[in-house]
Amino acid sequence: MSSSTDAPTNSSWYKRNEISVTPWLFLIPGVAFFLLYVIFPIFSSISVSFYDWDGLGDATYVGLGNYEELYWDDAFYTSLRNNLIWLVLYLLAIPAGLFIALFLNQTVTGIRLYKSLFFFPFVISQIVVGLVFTWFYDPTFGLLNQMLGVFGIDPINVLGDEKYVTYGIIAAGLWPQTAYCMILYLTGLNAVDPEQIEAARLDGAKGWRMLWHIIVPQLKPATFIAFVVTIIGALRSFDLISIMTNGGPFGESRVLSFYMFEVALSEYGFRMGYGASIAVVLFLIMLCFIAYFLYSMYQDDKGSR
């Protein structure tokens, strides 16, 4: 690169405004795409939720009709309850991931391979995870019931029993999610300040106290990301439910994302408006978290530059 430009006195309009125009030129394709496929659809979903529409014919305006129907819909409350169970139990992936990360944070031979293999479940698709766990739970030959049989416990049909089904699916989901949190914490543990640990050791801190007072505070960035991805993962749960139970038995394992799909795009009918209203509820739940994430990022950003 050579400095080829002369004094910018008589140069073009573009040259004079280069610094302020360039970012927009770079942004246009990405922003346009994102607006078309993500931002506009959000608003158009919200507006569809006020209509009765089968996706093909004319849409009829029904005002808050769809929401009123939701209010009386038992399946909606089942899904909402399951969503809450997912949210709460999915968070277990964070401490579980931390625990495994601590277990693996050593320097013995072959540990790198161990770390990779422990991370393995996250890389494979949820479809395969779902299939694997369906067989694991199978009442006739599943490994779970074989093991229970050893202790003389009668087989439990986890995925066929409305009491257990959601928990069974969540356990399957926790498997890859824990792996994800583990890798976040492993990288986080690398960055922990060794001097602070030494100082704390001299002061006699060890074990749990060391972990809680010295290590965990330093892992805050990793915990934040783990929290973000786990919440999103919990609210996006769809693949596992679809593969493992298809919402059953009797719709007891549905969550909002699955119920929405069922209402809008399956053999149960094409009720786009009603589906959109479910999606709006899910969106509003997510919005609370998004607002919180953005707020924390904003605080970070102010601090950094």
């Binding site: 360039t22 942004l27 795409f33 993500v38 934040f224």
Partner: protein, 282 residues
């Protein structure tokens, strides 16, 4: 280092740790190991109830051969590839540009545009489902590979922009200042100064996008239908319907479907992990 390095602890704990590692690993991967064993068993093992015993014969070639030559699996794999690779390229191109714009320049709406990308990336898929399906239908791209690719590029651009922008912000800003003083045009700064420095981030993003898109199921179901355009995640359900109760074949099929992202992970491990931590945890 925490916990205490193993070589500074007692001999007995060292030995038990070494023994504990493989046991814990086998326990952790048990469900997967089961599938791997299933996939090399003959079908007679399943009819005679020998689910968990030693395979009565090894049918690796026969089972995997069936997956590759007697099913639609190769077509689904090809579709997945044709969806994943263009998406990867599209995302890298778009987000290196948006990331550059948001990471380097200061202008009033900068943070708002950035937050738009981030927020959009966290949105539940279902709120996009009806309009995106409609849009794809209107463009005549329903049940086609480009239809799926276009949406994936647009949606993943949100995540990629977040990643790229944070990465570019951490670069030494002086380099750009120096180039400006030299009178280098802005687009040249992008191409010759920033882009070469972004290589590790681009690699990290490419691997991550590959995995995300390869494993996508929801959009595959919403935007495609048949064997001519469905990726392997959606295809595997019809594969399983074809071989219902043929556990050895379903296992082999699942393993084949899961393999590409696994291979990608093992080849590009360092980049992969850098990507997963969003570049925020170094």
């Amino acid at each position: 280092m925490f916990p205490t390095p193993i070589d500074k602890t007692s001999r007995s704990w060292q030995l038990s740790y070494q023994a504990l590692l493989p046991v814990a690993l086998i326990f952790w991967l048990l469900p997967l190991l089961a599938v791997a064993v299933f996939s090399i068993k003959p079908d007679t093992d399943f009819t005679t109830g020998n689910y968990w015993g030693f395979p009565s014969s090894f049918e690796f070639v026969a089972n995997y051969g069936k997956v590759f030559f007697a099913s639609d699996m190769p077509r689904y794999m090809l579709n997945s590839l044709l969806i994943t690779v263009p998406t990867m390229i599209g995302c890298v191109v778009l987000s290196s540009m948006t990331g550059f714009a948001l990471g380097v320049y200061k202008f009033r709406s900068n943070l708002w545009i950035f937050f738009m990308f981030v927020a959009g990336n966290f949105v539940p898929f279902q709120i996009l489902m009806v309009p995106v399906r409609d849009l794809t239908l209107d463009m005549g791209l329903y049940n086609t590979i480009p239809g799926l690719v276009l949406f994936h590029i647009a949606f993943q651009t949100g995540f990629c922009t977040l990643f790229m922008r944070n990465f570019i912000r951490a670069l030494p800003f002086d380099l750009i200042e120096v180039a400006r003083v030299e009178g280098v045009a802005e687009w040249r700064i992008f191409w010759y100064v920033v882009l070469p420095l972004m290589k590790p981030a681009l690699a990290a993003m490419a691997v991550l996008i590959f995995t995300f898109i390869w494993n996508d199921f929801f959009w595959a179901v919403v935007l495609t239908q048949g064997v001519e355009s469905q990726p392997v995640t959606a295809g595997i359900t019809s594969f399983n319907a074809q071989f219902r109760a043929a556990y050895h074949l379903m296992s082999a099929g699942s393993i084949v479907a899961a393999l590409p992202p696994v291979a990608m992970f093992f080849l590009m491990q360092k980049h992969f992990i850098a990507g997963l931590t969003l570049g925020a945890v170094k």
